[in-house]
Symmetry: C2
Subunit: 272 residues, 2 copies
């Protein structure tokens, strides 16, 4: 999906919500366990219920991998279902990959050829040649980890160099030379508040994928106040707050209500 | 596998060789493509041929994932085959994972419960809570990326802070507080030469997983001169140089010869 198509989807649906599909067999309604593939059955119902209120879905690879073959199959089925039924939704494989060039090439083939998602989250530690193999696909995106919402983000991401530049800023500056704002986004945690101002000074136009609203305590208003651009420039993710809004037979309705609630807040915060 | 068991294996086999199973359908002998699962058939033959000369195997997850379900199945079969037939060999899932705590927990379950390998490579960028979920398993290891062999390692890993400490050194110092030398190793590229001296000043006893000998141009003698400890403290990986030593029907014999050649060099370099 191109940048313009993504912006158009945000305008049409008046939403910049990304629904995180962190689907966990232990947390889904237990009546689904009798389905042939409970993970896919759950995802399908969640997607059908929330699609009008969001522009993106983000399956988290770890939750599928830990179910072995059955999980990997459910991930493929979920992406295929989205591609076929919701072609205007942006699909992010949240996989945090990154390795030397010939290996990153294989990961890129996995997600962009084998699975055909729109974007993959990538870790920056190994530098340019670990990221560029993901950039060889038209309309496909790298979403690079930058300043995350977890406590451990303080261990390395915020360390400053001799000139006072923190690592997260160097990651933005250096990686901006590898791709334009039509192929590269960044992960910035919602708990970062005013740090969004500093980030916008470095990457004024880049899209940011923002996890951490809801369960992790980030504020949607604050993220928008400091991080929004004239094109919106934000994809705000919510996972547990939507998909586990209820865990009985009303789970899909409850997910729709939670997604609609966020969409309505977003509508008031959009610049168009 | 415990640290003592690993050291014992090195002593018994007079080898600290790790064989990298970067199995690529395009590169394996083409007569194998008629097998039901060519990737597993290739791995099985390579393992049987090289096991006397090595102490570890390192399947690279990317090469399996990019084949979809069939690839994931081949990875599971390979680990199962190793577990059953070569219980004294150390198995590393080279997966470069790392995410917020509840997600890393899922990755740890994937590799340590679902697949039962001995170690997983992990990326440090997200800090402590992205790594510690992998440390909750007795006899299982984290192999943290530290100073890699690829050109992009210069982008962030070697950046120094206000006190002149490079990021790779901070990663060693900070992560040493998360686990002891019986649960944490580090990836250091073989092309680093004398940098091993600096690394040994910070982590004198830790095992290092060293890729980059062979295809990437690192020197075994130099790695040993500057990086070896009284316990050996090294696992030197070779992938392409062994598994693709020939690509006709003699591939397994050629792999055995390449592995034996490295083992014989290693025998002369060991401190015991």
């Amino acid at each position: 999906m191109t940048r313009q198509q993504l912006i158009d989807a945000i305008k049409t649906r008046k939403s910049f919500l990304c629904v995180g599909l962190d689907t966990d067999l232990k947390k889904i309604p237990q009546h689904l366990l009798k389905e042939e593939n409970p993970i896919f059955a759950f995802n399908k119902a969640i997607i059908d219920a929330t699609a009008p209120y969001c522009v993106a879905y983000k399956p988290n690879a770890a939750f599928y991998e830990c179910q072995g073959l059955k999980g990997w199959e459910a991930l493929e089925q979920t992406v295929e279902y989205l591609r076929k039924n919701y072609p205007d939704h942006f699909i992010i494989a949240d996989a945090k990959r990154g390795d030397i060039g010939n290996t990153s090439k294989m990961y890129a083939a996995t997600f962009f050829e084998q699975m055909n998602v729109d974007a993959v989250t990538v870790a920056p530690y190994m530098g340019k040649d670990s990221v560029t193999p993901f950039l060889g696909y038209e309309g496909k995106w790298v979403i690079l980890l930058d300043l995350t919402s977890n406590p451990g983000s303080q261990d390395f991401q915020t360390v400053t160099d001799a000139n006072g530049m923190p690592l997260w800023e160097r990651v933005l500056r250096v990686s901006s030379e590898w791709a334009g704002t039509d192929q590269m986004m960044y992960v910035v945690g919602a708990t970062r508040g005013r740090a969004f101002e500093d980030i916008r000074r470095v990457v004024p136009d880049s899209f940011l994928l923002v996890p951490g609203v809801g369960a992790q305590g980030g504020s949607l208003e604050e993220v928008c106040k400091y991080g929004m651009t004239p094109d919106c420039g934000l994809l705000v993710n919510s996972s547990r707050g939507i998909i586990y809004a209820a865990n009985d037979e009303s789970y899909a309705e409850a997910a729709a209500a939670a997604a609609r609630d966020l969409q309505q807040q977003m509508e008031t915060l959009l610049p168009f």
